[in-house]
Symmetry: C5
Subunit: 354 residues, 5 copies
């Protein structure tokens, strides 16, 4: 649902940079998780106060501060002022209906994207906003409610597997983006299964419900598209950013995420095309069936209406109706009626109505 | 309504730069409001004559001259000649169906945009033209009728909250644009509610009125689009303008407005897509219902027409009809008819018509 | 009508630059009008022979030679050779179905556009080709038949009002283009009125005629578009032309015409969108009405066909039909029939068919 | 028909540059025509063997070698090796379903386009491939079967009229392209006549045949488009080619051909739009007529079904039916029936069904 | 089917560069074929272990290592580490639903495309992923299952026909791409035949099956498009690559493949347009037939319903019905009924329903 227009009215009239939370309050309490590492060392803790994460600004190690819950303007503004983040950026972080974008602010890079997940029980796609602040030795990530998408990254940092511990905050940011995009494939898998189910239903037993579900899926695709298309620009923006914060060696990894994004877009567009095709097919099968129904009606009516008329004629009560007195009149008329029916059927056969 | 073509005929044949008011006369009397400020001082007054605002051209402070009502060519031309504004620009100010645009004239920048507001009672979107002249130490704004959109900016100047008092006329112009774009979100909220209402109506109880309202909303979207798309170019034009009038520090704020504009466009496009989908759904539900109606008709006709024929046969008055004399003829024929009906119903069941 | 393909066959096989008139012969006789002016002097005359306008090539004053009627190849070729115009340009002038374009030939600039006017009686849009040759001290304009669109320009030269007499041939050319584009607004006004009339008709009393007129207007829009889109390139081409023939000060005026052209395009596109929407609405209202008709038929048939059957049963002539002998049989059956009808109506009510 | 995919299988697996003729064999025997000329001299002959045209490679005069029939790989390969043409180019010449393109090979320029002609008897558009090799002092043209499109060029060379004899091979190539594009206008004229005929038929007497012909024309437009769109790139490619083979003075002529190409594209697109509009109109007139048919059926049924029921009631054989014995029962019932009919008709009148 | 989203979930959460096979396991066992050649020498063998192909990295001759089956991560990772291939590239090779792309890695170029083949028995298009690693003296190709598409290239190397043996690995890579694209034409031929068959079926005997097959073909076109559009970028990327690995002389050959790719795209788009046209035609023929069926029903009903009513009237049992006693009443009423029928038929004739 295009809820991004909603609630924004709260902010109309306030000066730019005002920190007002726009959106649903998804997390109960703001949670701050700090992971600090370099190739040798690793430290992980949950901060009780926002001030606990301030010392990490100066360390030489890479620090990942993950803040879950963006409704608390105090937390956001404290982090913002300590890490020297522009007030408009802070406003964007708290306004949870941002269009994915990337902004190179010199001292840091701001990235905002949408994280999707598929809610199994309600069978719907959930969406939350993720903001990343990429500094020279830290990454701050803001989530609306802490899903488990970043767990694999955390695990890789903990175990020290892969390149993650050896490389800088740009690689960490890439890893976070990569895990978000990888999750898109999971969501698309689920939607793809729905599309295929609908397709089978369309052939075996199409009904109103099928139509409704095609429309619902089509609308879900509209919103997916809205999240994914700008993501492409975000990733290619990062790749081409002439910032000292993004090392050249990270380029190939970003290109890889970019390729995945294109693939996601391709798949979304393919599903859209397929759903349009299915809608067309539904409509043409409806008019096909209508045609069939009409044919049955016409055949029945065309055969029996004349016969009923004939029966009606000999049901008239005229005094003088010579046929009525004939010995074989009744049988003759039955044979005549039968003849007409057979003739009609032959005619229908020729017209390919049967 | 595309009224921009209307009334323009008044001007055909006049030399370019002729000051003729094109459009509805929305304000009774031209009202001139002057706000003059710098970080320390603040002065606000309503000018009785247009000449009262002339001295402010020379002051070092930032002056905002807000002129409500553009139908009075004398006022516009006097302001124009004192502030050295090109006659074509003056013509554009008075022709109230301009496409949003931005023109860098060296000494000043001319910006014209559309301000939207939602009229609650009539449930329709109102639109007025706002022109801005951004000079080195003043901003002149021309409105058609003074809505309350700029009130929050005024309030911020009065109270000195935020950056507004500390920065120059470019930041003032940005603030005005920002408040206009913020208002778009309010309008979209209202339209979004309408779209959602229609959607529910479409599922629960679709009728002719629903269809009509979808069409009305679709047309409103056409006109919204026409206002919003060029706005994007206006804002990005201001951002990239290599003018000494726009300070570099204002860039990030303009980029923020730009992002909001993109979001407005996105939302408008999404609503358009949703309305198209709803129209499709309406049409397919109409043909679905037609199909259902046809089925009922066909079932009734297919069962009863043959039965009526049989009844007609035994209503004939032939002298010699052996069945009529049978003791159980009547009951036999009733059973026979019942049998045919049951058979038909089984057939319909198989064809999934029931 | 796309008549540009027509008649072109006359020219197939001729060498390029052959002067053959392609198109309707609209003016009886070629008329040559000369206006010669500078800030102080002004002279206007109608030339009897084409040679009369030759001396003006050398004068320091600005000369406007307006030639009405392009079917006379002798006149065109004489003018062409005296003013050193390329034979391909002359060919374009005489081929009256040119796509609007602009060509910078160094010594002169060639501009060809379409002039539209609305014929009130026949209620149709007329179109003629206007070619402009802009030289260093002259403008030659070729019209198919002399409409009154240029009269206002003539008047302004005569009276010396505005800038026209003070500026060069580039400003004159601009003035001519401006008056042509201004005339587009008049045409669009008329078409806009038609669109609005149709819209009302669509709601109050749609019929076949409405459908036909929507189609006719849609087609008119196709042809308007074809004239207007390339005009945009023509004007922006003139504006960006690095030619000494177009003074820099004329730039802002051309930009103004450009804005008008964009507005015309916007309006045309809006009308197209509206007409498409109206077509959709017409079609859906047709299927809506069909649905309604079907419902009435189905209700009538579903109620009366079973009743007729029952009547038919008791019209059978079986010897032994106990009900027939009952005292209240007839009334019982009437009550039964009435009960069935009421039941049916309740059912229809529930299905929202009534 | 998209036959370009057909027959290509013959070549799959062969090394690139293999000379295999792909396409229909349209000419019986390869014919080679040589025209050699400069401003003073002119010579024309038909070569019996391919070797006869070899000496012309060295002469200072302009030579036009026109080869009709591209199915003979020996002729093509001999010409190719003598004039040093790349084997891939030779392959393209023989594969007669090329997309129009232009390739600057340094020593020569290769151009391949489609030549269209309208076959009057079968009323269909024929298409053949024309390849041009433009060298420094020769043009070699390959046609599939020698149409009469180039005759006018030949005639102009023979008579020495126009610029043709004075200018080089680039102007000759331009003339050939120009005559091909001019021929497109002839084809479009014929198709335009068909479109107009169909349009009249659509209003006066639309039927299945009309529908079929609209579809056939629409498909012809698809294929025309496929030939014409790339042609635009070919001509603009030639114009902008920084090759010494294309003299600067030829630029304006190529620009002229370019304008014609754009006009052809415009016309094709307009016809496509018109045909789409006609299809829409056909469909809406079909559903209009269906609606009308339904109305007639409904009116008849709604009037007579209740009446028949009433007649049926009084046809029942109940012993005790008091009305039957009334003196004026029969006439009363007739009047009653008449009243119902009139009431129904008034109702239909109100609903605008009559 | 858009199966590229499927199975990807296996990889979500793994660090980038993890070698997990994504896709169907099409080949039983990984097969490694080595062809080593220069102009004089030629050697071909099947490697039993992956290590056998390592020595060829250093030789001066051109080596083509063809690996069939990409499910074995050990083989891929060994080859990868010996030939210094980036782990992300290896991941792409094993993830068999890649979008065609080309990546210049400096030391080698990575190309991934889709190879299509038409499965005759099941009448469906099969698709497999082919990856090419182009080094300075080797080409490594990865196939999912070894089709016979590369056989012609192998044969040309063996026999030494053509340029293949004389040129480097870039020409070998070109030859492989060329044979893949050539195969596209074969697939399009088959699909084109299907399209034509469907077209005939549509005219002679359209039914549900036709509709279904149009939809199936349309969907196949969606997927073909998805494979072919990015291929264009791949080939033009190779052509413009400023890599020392691609010699300039190979440019014209790549341009040739590029042209073929464009032709494939053109054909796919044409088929799409044709299929859309066919769908429209199917739908309009369905509504045409519905219209016809409705007419027959209406004619029958409109003639016989009134007649049946009249017969019903004279079947009423009123005591006093004077007509019943008339001598010629019965015949009069028969004549009257006949008259009404004839009148109706004349009316239908006029309305062009017959």
């Amino acid at each position: 649902m295009p809820k991004n227009a909603h609630k924004r009215s709260k902010k109309a009239g306030l000066p730019p940079g005002s920190l007002v939370h726009i959106g649903e309050k998804k997390a109960e309490r703001t949670k701050i998780m700090i992971i600090d590492y370099d190739e040798q060392n690793f430290q992980e803790k949950e901060a009780r106060t926002v001030e606990e994460c301030f010392p990490f600004k100066e360390t030489a190690t890479v620090t990942w501060i993950n803040i879950v819950g963006v409704h608390d303007s105090e937390v956001v503004s404290k982090v913002g002022s300590h890490f020297c983040i522009h007030s408009l950026i802070l406003e964007d972080i708290m306004t949870t209906q941002q269009r994915p974008k990337m902004e190179d602010m010199g001292e840091y890079i701001y990235v905002v994207v949408r994280m999707l997940s598929y809610e199994g029980r309600k069978r719907e796609v959930l969406s939350e906003q993720v903001s990343l602040i990429i500094g020279s030795n830290f990454v701050i990530s803001f989530q609306e409610n802490g899903g488990d998408v970043f767990n694999s990254v955390r695990e890789r940092i903990r175990t020290g597997k892969g390149r993650l511990r050896k490389l800088g905050p740009d690689y960490l940011a890439y890893s976070l983006l990569d895990s978000i995009v990888d999750n898109y494939f999971l969501v698309l898998e689920k939607l793809g299964e729905k599309v295929e189910d609908l397709e089978e239903e369309l052939i075996s037993d199409p009904g109103r419900k099928t139509l409704h579900e095609i429309h619902v899926l089509k609308r879900e695709m509209i919103f997916l598209r809205k999240s994914v298309w700008p993501l492409r620009e975000v990733v290619s923006g990062l790749e081409r950013a002439e910032s000292r914060l993004i090392k050249e060696s990270t380029g190939i990894f970003l290109r890889d995420v970019y390729d995945h994004t294109i693939q996601v877009i391709d798949t979304v567009e393919t599903y859209r095309d397929m759903l349009s095709g299915m809608l067309d097919m539904y409509l043409s099968s409806v008019s096909n069936r209508m045609n069939e129904v009409m044919k049955v009606l016409t055949i029945i009516a065309t055969i029996f209406i004349p016969l009923t008329f004939i029966a009606g004629v000999y049901g008239m009560n005229f005094k003088f109706m010579p046929e009525l007195d004939w010995r074989w009149g009744y049988f003759a008329i039955l044979v005549f009626m039968f003849g007409i029916s057979v003739l009609m059927l032959i005619l229908f056969k020729r017209k390919k109505w049967l």
